[in-house]
Each structure stands twice: as C-alpha cells, then as structure tokens.
C-alpha cells in the first residue's frame, strides 16, 4: 500500500510545475496546457482523498472537473485562434494593449 502523502506530494509538484509553466512560458498554447496540468494535479489530490476517506463523491467531482476542462479547452482554443487571426502570433508578449 502506498502511503497517502506520496500521492499528495506528486499532486503538489505537478501543480507547481503548472504554475511555473503559466508564468514562464511565452507560448499561449503551452500556458494553456499548463492550466490543464494544474487541473489534473487537483484531480489527483481529490481522488487520493476520496480513496482514503472511502467516499466515492470525489470521483463525481473529478468527472465534473473534466467536463469543465473540456469546455475550457474549447473556448480557450477558440480565443487563441482569434488572437492568432488578429496578430498572426501566439506569443504572449505581443498582446500588451492593456499593459500600462
């Protein structure tokens, strides 16, 4: 039996990797994928707690999170396509109209 903290640590490390990806990357698509990675790290934590509390409700939450991630991916990619049409780049540094 793998102790519960191990899973939580993996989840935390994956989440931090996701944050680092969002902050450090300039490619909008890689930033977006980092967000997906963070969602999955949260999913892993939820599944872990659901297993160790012996409740299956967590599985339902993960299911709903996956649906939200799918919706988010569809809308986000549409936004990226629109940005690309306007500027012909997806470099996050080039979108600085609102920067003061």
């Amino acid at each position: 039996m793998v102790p519960m903290p191990y899973y939580l640590i993996v989840g935390a490390v994956l989440f931090v990797i996701g944050i680092a990806g969002v902050i450090l990357s300039r490619n909008l698509i890689i930033m977006f994928m980092s967000i997906e990675l963070m969602l999955n790290a949260a999913n892993l934590t939820i599944i872990t707690f659901s297993r160790f509390l012996n409740l299956m409700d967590g599985h339902v939450f993960v299911f709903l999170i996956m649906a939200v991630a799918a919706a988010e991916a569809a809308v986000g990619l549409a936004i990226i396509i629109m940005l690309f049409r306007n500027r012909e780049t997806i470099d996050a540094d080039k979108f600085n109209l609102l920067k003061w």
């Binding site: 698509i29 709903l64 997806i90 470099d91």
Partner: protein, 176 residues
C-alpha cells in the same frame, strides 16, 4: 510492487510535466502532456478509481489533447517562432517567485509528510469501489443537478467556441 509502480508513475508524471513546459515546439509539448496524463491515470487506477482513470485517458488524452494538436496544426505553429531566448519576467520577480514556490512546497511537505497518524486512515476499499456502476449511481442520484448543469455548461462552451472561431468576411479576404 505497488510502491515500485507508484514511483515509476510519479517520476514519469513529473518528468513529463517538466519536459512539457520546457519544450519550444508545441507539438512535442502536447505529447509530453499526454505522457503525464497517462502516468496520472496509472495513479488513479492504483487508488481504485478505475472508471475515472479510464475517463482521463479517453476524454483528456483522446479528445482534449487531440483538440490542442488540431489547433496547433491549424495555426501551423513552428517552434522557431519562439527560438529567441527571452523571459517575460525580470530577474527579481523570478527569484521572488521561485523562493515563494519552494517555500510553499516545503510547507506542504512538512504538513503532509509527517502528519502522525495518516496511515490509520487507510481502509480496505470495497471490491467495486470506483467502478462504473457505483460512480454512475452517485452521479445520477445525489449529484443529478450538477450533472445536468454540466450539460448546459458544455452547450454554452460549444456555442461560444463556434461564435468566436467563426471567420468573417474580413478574415476570408486575408486568407486566414
């Protein structure tokens, strides 16, 4: 044995995640994210979440990441566009952020790694824990309303994506 599989999955997941954010080429990045997701699915199965693990591979690796790949191909993105090395943050910000993340992780490890009596929480799972039937029973009884709301959310997302990604006359002339 279980521990060995866990370590393998954990190393593959973290390594895949790191490779994902370090790639210049978005296609390689998507492929590394798929590797990470498969490793996470292995951990799900280890935690008796068989149904959700299968769902992760089918929905995430099978559908969402293919959508990513599709958009990358559609935009014809190349790694070279990001070849010049230049980070968005200035040096002090990066150092502060790195220190903050590391402190946060350490605090988490301190909380989590030595919590005293965590092992006693472990109970033997019932044979069908995490199978399709019990999860579906929960989904269609206790969580019926959130489940139905999800369908509305997906509908809104579909409409939004179609409206936003539609090309108008101006774009057609430019041939994008």
């Amino acid at each position: 044995m279980e521990l060995i599989i866990f370590y393998l999955a954990a190393v593959v997941a973290v390594g895949g995640g790191l490779m994902m954010i370090m790639q210049r080429n978005p296609v390689a990045s998507v492929l590394y994210l798929i590797v990470t997701l498969v490793a996470i699915a292995v951990m799900f199965v280890q935690l008796n979440a068989v149904f959700v693990g299968a769902l992760l591979i089918i929905v995430y690796a099978g559908a969402i990441l293919v959508l990513f790949l599709f958009v990358i191909m559609l935009l014809n993105l190349r790694g070279e566009k990001f070849a010049e090395k230049r980070t968005r943050l200035d040096r002090p910000t990066r150092i502060i952020l790195a220190v903050a993340f590391i402190l946060e992780l350490l605090a988490m490890f301190k909380q989590v790694a030595f919590p005293g009596r965590m092992d006693e929480l472990m109970v033997q799972a019932s044979p069908d824990f995490g199978g399709a039937r019990p999860v579906a029973e929960l989904l269609y009884t206790k969580y019926l309303f959130p489940f139905e709301l999800t369908s509305i959310l997906l509908l809104v997302a579909i409409v939004g994506a179609v409206v936003m990604a539609r090309r108008d006359e101006k774009d057609k002339k430019r041939g994008i």
